[in-house]
């Protein structure tokens, strides 16, 4: 339900009206946030770990060219193939070509944010190849023709009843509503498809330059099935998802699961170094790694935004964000929701209008920065994005005029006092707290938005600056 024909405010309104969604989002983010608190406390001295994580990511990105070269050389030495995609279209094209060359009919996918970013499923379908999501939450979302609502838990917006209905329609039979039955149906149905599939598609949490490995942190096991059963494995990787060595992986592996769910380690951590080797019973005959740029390299060398490439996609910033907590993921209208999404979306898709308004969906409280396991100053970036958005030509004439007017009023104490007096009197004589002369109140910019959900504070009889001489005397005596 990417309602991209609606603007952000309209999507947010939709979300705010959905009581189930709001309750589910609150419950989920609280659970994940508490998990993170417990998991990081168990590690001890979490601040030092964060600093190590930040240092590793900063070092890697500052030397990205060298580490990517090293990774590619080592992966090829291990028998893997490396592909380079400048943008989303090229990334999808590469995957479709690999699949077509192998006459593939079915590709099974484990969770990959990059595959969502490049809209891989749409391209596969256009080429007549089925792309099947196998992460339970992603499969549910795919059956419902919707988009994920959370980075870690894609279908928090679906109730048990809705999931049962989707599965019953798929099964053509009745199913019980308990979790074991529903998950059991997914296991039975998807297991058969894994065995039939020609291509397995996965993401990559971290590539390792030193060994040419890709790693996947997963819990369900579908990530292992897609990299074990089909003959061809395609891994999609954002160009920044790399660390120098195993020693660095050891640090990131303590940070990622704890920050995502609070787990000490995910159920499966798979370190893949090339395809199946001679005499091995199973595993893919071919491994293709597609390294995707799609707007990422534009951030390199930009002092304000390079650090966004440090992100490890744990979702911790979503779970602490007061805005995400109210509206959930869909309102962002982007693959990446929450604070991180509000920064990534406009940077990755600068041409899209949708993304610019996301920078306003923040209270700039900085909770995202505090929660980030690699200390990305997300809130500073949101301010910088707002600055960009305010450049000439990007805001309406009225808004610019209002801002210029405010600037002149706010920069002179005398003008400010005068303006306050006039506004106070005007408000008192006309709309008061918004309940009088409503025909007028509904036409005043800013005020009309306020009145949609609440009353204005009634204007005081005397302003603070008029009260101050008396107050000052009181304080001093």
């Amino acid at each position: 339900m990417h309602s991209t024909d609606l603007d952000f405010a309209e999507r947010a309104d939709l979300a705010l009206e959905n009581q189930f969604l709001r309750k589910a989002v609150r419950f989920t983010v609280d659970r994940l946030r508490n998990g993170k608190a417990a998991g990081s406390a168990a590690l001890g001295d979490f601040e030092s770990w964060r600093e190590r994580g930040r240092a590793i990511r900063a070092h890697t990105i500052a030397n990205l060219d060298r580490y990517l070269e090293q990774f590619c050389d080592n992966l090829e030495r291990a028998g893997g193939h490396v592909h380079f995609a400048a943008d989303a279209a090229e990334a999808s094209e590469i995957c479709v070509r690999i699949a077509k060359d192998r006459q593939a009919k079915l590709a099974v996918k484990s969770k990959s944010m990059v595959s969502e970013e490049i809209e891989l499923n749409r391209h596969f379908e256009a080429a007549g190849i089925e792309a099947l999501e196998t992460d339970l939450g992603e499969w549910i979302v795919q059956l419902a023709h919707e988009a994920p609502a959370h980075i870690i838990l894609p279908c928090i917006h679906k109730s048990r009843g809705e999931i049962r209905a989707l599965f019953e329609r798929h099964a053509g039979a009745e199913l019980a509503e308990d979790t074991a039955t529903l998950a059991g149906y997914a296991r039975k149905t998807l297991r058969q498809r894994f065995l039939e599939a020609d291509i397995g598609i996965s993401g990559c949490n971290f590539a390792i330059a030193d060994t040419g490995s890709i790693t996947m942190f997963t819990n369900e096991g579908n990530g292992r099935l897609v990299t074990t059963l089909p003959r061809t494995h395609i891994a999609l990787m954002g160009m920044e998802r790399i660390v120098p060595s195993f020693a660095d992986l050891a640090v990131m592996a303590e940070l990622l699961p704890r920050s995502a769910t609070g787990q000490k380690l995910t159920t499966y951590l798979n370190v893949i170094s090339g395809p199946r080797r001679a005499n091995e019973a199973d595993g893919p005959d071919e491994l293709h790694v597609v390294i995707v740029d799609n707007g990422r390299s534009n951030q390199l060398g930009d002092p304000d935004f390079q650090a966004i490439l440090h992100c490890i996609r744990c979702g911790a910033c979503l779970n602490v964000c007061p805005v995400y907590r109210q509206i959930g993921g869909h309102a962002y209208g982007s693959v990446y929701p929450g604070p991180i999404g509000a920064v990534l979306s406009p940077l990755f898709q600068p041409e899209q209008e949708l993304a610019t308004e996301l920078a306003d969906a923040s209270s700039l409280c900085g909770a995202c920065h505090e929660a980030c396991p690699v200390k990305i100053p997300i809130h500073d970036m949101l301010v910088k994005l707002r600055e960009r958005n305010a450049r000439p030509g990007r805001k309406s004439r009225t808004e610019r005029l209002m801002m210029e007017l405010s600037a002149s009023v706010l920069s002179s104490p005398a003008a400010f006092a005068r303006a306050g007096r006039v506004a106070r009197l005007l408000q008192r004589w006309t709309i008061f707290d918004g309940s009088r002369m409503t025909f007028l109140a509904r036409r005043i910019p800013v005020v009309k938005n306020w009145l949609g959900t609440r009353r204005l504070p009634p204007p005081p009889k005397r302003a603070f600056r008029d009260l101050w001489p008396d107050l000052e005397r009181e304080v001093k005596s």
């Binding site: 589910a24 419950f27 989920t28 001890g44 001295d45 030092s48 240092a55 590793i56 070092h59 890697t60 030397n63 990205l64 060219d65 060298r66 990517l68 291990a78 380079f84 838990l153 279908c155 928090i156 048990r160 998950a183 997914a186 296991r187 998807l190 065995l195 060994t211 490995s213 819990n219 369900e220 096991g221 292992r224 990299t227 074990t228 059963l229 660390v243 120098p244 060595s245 195993f246 020693a247 660095d248 050891a250 640090v251 592996a253 000490k264 380690l265 159920t267 499966y268 951590l269 798979n270 170094s273 001679a278 005499n279 091995e280 019973a281 199973d282 595993g283 740029d293 390199l300 060398g301």
Partner: protein, 225 residues
């Protein structure tokens, strides 16, 4: 896009002509971080309690014969009939005898190259996978499995129940120590798998359920050697 073009863009954006040698990664210079358990007994206790926390079961055994007996009793107790296992030579050091005679275990053997498809079918139909872990990780209750010619991926993945043998001398303190061991072995295997308990998901209304894709049960026979 060509590799050269792709890489050149990265270097240009970073403000240099081409990739230069990087300084050492900061991870190497940071001191060890937690005080790991020092004695073997502490490592074993921590491994067992961490694995139990994520839903795994641990059976401690003190001899090869107790291991064999324990495994056979376990298989009977689950009602499972078909087993799939790592190559038999892996188990030689445990001196199993009755187990091979009395249980129906399909093992993958080197040179079985043409039979990969049939092995896969047997693994997919098996009730229990029988494996040997290369390392245990005390801090998280994880086990490391290095895939190889005699150590297929499917055994630890396809059956509903996974039984692993782990010797107590192969338990290390934490993931960093395990990755050190892995790195010191030279070229890594095609797949190095850390497994921490049974397959899990909370995708349906945050309700935890086990075994959605991988094994629903993970049982470890911890052999004190």
């Amino acid at each position: 896009m060509k590799r050269e073009t792709f890489m050149a863009r990265v270097s240009t954006r970073l403000g240099r002509a081409r990739a230069s040698a990087a300084s050492q990664s900061p991870s190497a210079s940071v001191a060890p971080r937690r005080s790991p358990p020092s004695t073997r007994a502490e490592l074993i206790a921590q491994f067992s309690s961490e694995l139990a926390k994520v839903g795994g079961a641990v059976h401690a055994v003190r001899s090869n014969s107790a291991l064999e007996l324990g495994l056979m009793e376990f298989v009977h107790s689950t009602g499972g009939r078909r087993l799939v296992g790592f190559g038999k030579s892996n188990f030689e050091r445990f001196g199993f005898d009755r187990l091979w005679r009395e249980l129906d275990v399909s093992c993958w053997e080197r040179g079985d190259e043409g039979c990969a498809a049939s092995f896969r079918a047997r693994a997919a139909a098996a009730d229990i996978g029988l494996s040997i872990a290369d390392l245990g990780v005390a801090s998280s209750g994880s086990m490391l499995f290095l895939v190889g010619a005699q150590r297929p991926r499917s055994v630890t993945l396809l059956p509903r129940s996974h039984v692993a043998i782990l010797t107590t001398d192969s338990i290390v303190a934490d993931l960093a120590a395990a990755l050190d061991v892995l790195g010191a072995r030279g070229t890594p295997p095609s797949s190095a798998l850390f497994i921490t308990g049974p397959s899990r998901t909370s995708d349906i209304e945050n309700d935890l359920t086990l075994g959605v894709h991988g094994p629903a049960a993970v049982t470890v026979f911890l052999l004190d050697n």
